[in-house]
Symmetry: C2
């Protein structure tokens, strides 16, 4: 009788544990960029708008997963919402280059096959994440850049827009401020080695990239990232978002990863692949691996954040900035959205 009682306790404990594990099985994680995001600088309206679109994006991807579609479909549907919303530095709402253009980068990767696609510097594709997916699925290549990538997207049947579609007043004003501040900074830097460098002198305009990692019912992971890059960027600068291994990487055996932040540091540290390798070769959890990889960026002087999701539904969302727009949804549809630390 005593042993039966013990068995019953054990049984119900395991049941509870199982339910709790079920509830904590994440199937999607998204980010809308990391940076100097402070509550004191935010209006209640703006905050509500961010939360609303992050929630909408999660729901769009979750609907794909629930209907049995692939994690790639979920990532694409989710990122479409974020690209089409002007609040984020991706698709409509992308920042401007020094020359007043919107040059967009994106990448996507399939954790099951390790197939990947990316585009950099496209100017006419409404949804760059779909261009990245087309490169992966409709070409034998992984990366295409510039007008060639635009041409490919057109031939692949994607929606092409006039470059003016990407114009927003907020980003245009941001470029004017950046140009002004950079020229002031160049004067202040006079005599400093920094002033001899060609390129961006102000790093406060580099955030707002969007990304998503999803886990579908078949157990396959996919990861995607889309960005307008850095405000006032020159010389065809490309950041980490479209670089497989740096800003975007996905492998069913380890995790899917999408990064956001000061891209140069993410490339130099090959951040996304580092996370996967720390899991594969050192047996670390997705959380431990993500923290170590972000610490490498931080120690070099870089800042930003990242999202990662492993095949068991464990999630990591570290960042070393004031805030990161982010959200998760679990297998049972529970949504959590956060902005600040």
């Amino acid at each position: 009788m005593k042993s039966l009682k013990l068995f019953a306790i054990l049984f119900f404990s395991l049941l509870t544990l199982n339910i709790s594990a079920q509830q904590k099985k994440y199937v999607m994680v998204i980010h809308g960029g990391a940076g100097t995001i402070l509550k004191k600088n935010m209006t209640p309206e703006k905050e509500a708008a961010y939360i609303a679109v992050l929630t909408q994006a999660l729901k769009a991807g979750y609907a794909q997963i629930q209907s049995g579609k692939s994690s790639l479909d979920a990532v694409e549907a989710t990122i479409h919402i974020l690209e089409n919303d002007p609040h984020f530095n991706a698709g409509k709402g992308a920042v401007f280059t020094h020359d007043g253009r919107n040059e967009l980068d994106a990448a996507i990767m399939d954790g099951k096959t390790l197939m990947a696609g990316s585009v950099a510097g496209v100017t006419t594709v409404k949804n760059p994440i779909s261009a990245a997916r087309a490169v992966m699925e409709k070409s034998e290549h992984v990366m295409m850049v510039g007008s060639g990538a635009d041409q490919f997207a057109k031939e692949a049947g994607l929606e092409i827009v006039d470059p003016k579609y990407f114009w927003t007043k907020e980003r245009w004003d941001g470029l004017q401020r950046a140009i002004k501040e950079d020229s002031t900074k160049a004067v202040l830097d006079h005599g400093n080695k920094k002033s001899e460098l060609l390129g961006i002198k102000n790093h406060d305009y580099k955030f707002g990239t969007v990304g998503c990692v999803a886990l579908d019912k078949a157990g396959n992971l996919a990861a995607g990232t889309s960005t307008g890059g850095m405000t006032n960027k020159k010389y065809g600068r490309v950041g980490d978002a479209p670089i497989i291994g740096s800003g975007t990487y996905c492998n069913n055996e380890t995790a899917g990863v999408s990064c956001t932040g000061w891209g140069e540091f993410y490339i130099r540290n090959v951040v996304a692949k580092t996370i996967s390798d720390l899991m594969e070769y050192k047996g670390l959890s997705v959380n431990e691996a993500s923290k170590i990889a972000l610490d490498k960026v931080g120690k070099m002087g870089g800042d930003g954040g990242l999202i990662a999701l492993d095949k068991k539904g464990n999630v990591a969302m570290p960042f070393n900035t004031e805030g990161m727009y982010r959200g998760t949804i679990t297998a049972d549809g529970k949504i959590e959205v956060s902005i600040y630390k």
Copy 2:
């Protein structure tokens, strides 16, 4: 007396071991591309020409190291020789895109600082490896693409040439053959899924990339890669060479790596960083790590090779093709150059 004799034997044994270790300390390794390189298809004159330029390239870099200059200087000097020689698919002698242009990619990385620079799709810079180095040293960026990268190289004071400089008859004829064979292949592929893919249909024209890893007297590693990419490439396709972590990576704590081959597979496997991570996280030798990373490429259906050099002067040069133009030089100046298996 007996113990003195034993001591003497031990002493001389250690001395011999030390000398042998000294002789086997490599300070540079280079490649000029991997591919279907068969002795039966090679004339003695052509073979001699390849051996001569590979030897000259090794000597150029070695002279830098011997004079106390940095491994970055050695890599740049070595790759200049290979870029300026029309035998290799880099700089002069680069293959043509589908549109009859030469679009050049290059990357360089400093193992001491993990600083890196890369360019993709430049058309007017005589030595793309120097453009990559300028991005690393004279900008705050890591990667620049297209005409922006050309403009940057010009402003950085590099030698600019008319795009015609890169034209060679052999490569032009190669493009005409590739276009003809691709159109034939497209007909043969009719009904096959492959024929629906946009892009290169023939993979026999992807080789000839050049690369170098050097170890200087201060113990610092540097790695660089330069390429014209794939013959008949379309849509602004970019391969692994300019992708930090894939075709090029360097870290004093592990190794410097430069890859050559079917770039798409190298990107999907993030090959160069994988080698570094296998060394750092699994404690493997540069040789073991290089073989495992290349095996991943091979298992997916990709082919090519790579060179790697660790901080102790151990070298690895695996390839899964018929041949790879390659060479090494040891600390005491001994040169070895090979082409076939």
